[in-house]
Symmetry: C2
Subunit: 98 residues, 2 copies
């Protein structure tokens, strides 16, 4: 299995409606990108004062499955509309899982 994890800190002008819409947009992707095996995301529960705001964990069979997702036009469109210019910080890791 190959896992992609990404976290975001929203920009200051992002409101609850935007965050809800971003979540709904992400929810449409597993039906559109057939290399996605698991796709779990959500907004921070507010337990840690230094926490980031949103996280996504996406699993694929292999690196190629991840690359297909990363470059898929439907994924790119969601990133552009809801994340790219709306986040102050982004941190990502991909790794193999035994």
């Amino acid at each position: 299995m190959f896992r992609h994890v990404v976290m975001f800190i929203w920009a200051d002008d992002v409101d609850d409606d935007h965050i809800a819409a971003a979540g709904h947009a992400l929810d449409t992707l597993p039906a559109k990108i057939d290399t996605i095996r698991s796709y779990v995301h959500g907004r921070d529960a507010g337990l840690g004062p230094t926490n980031a705001n949103y996280v996504l964990v996406a699993d694929f069979d292999d690196v190629d499955g991840f690359a297909t997702y990363r470059d898929h036009p439907d994924h790119v469109a969601v990133v552009r509309q809801y994340f790219a210019k709306h986040t102050a910080q982004r941190m990502a890791v991909q790794h193999h899982v035994d």
Copy 2:
């Protein structure tokens, strides 16, 4: 389910031996902390030039299970020995999973 995700960028003086030892130390925790339901971690595969270096995804039944883990002396000891002073940046999110 309640999920905890944390990412790290290592400090400049962290070497491969330290990273391997940190991974082995994390691997000891599920046997010691009985609220852990799933515990998956690994080092970045190097696909993204701006990626962080290491990620952990830990699942619990609920917030209390996470809090037990967070405050457990064996977890705190691993954080102190392998992460606290050895990371340049840390980003975390906890969230409920339906």
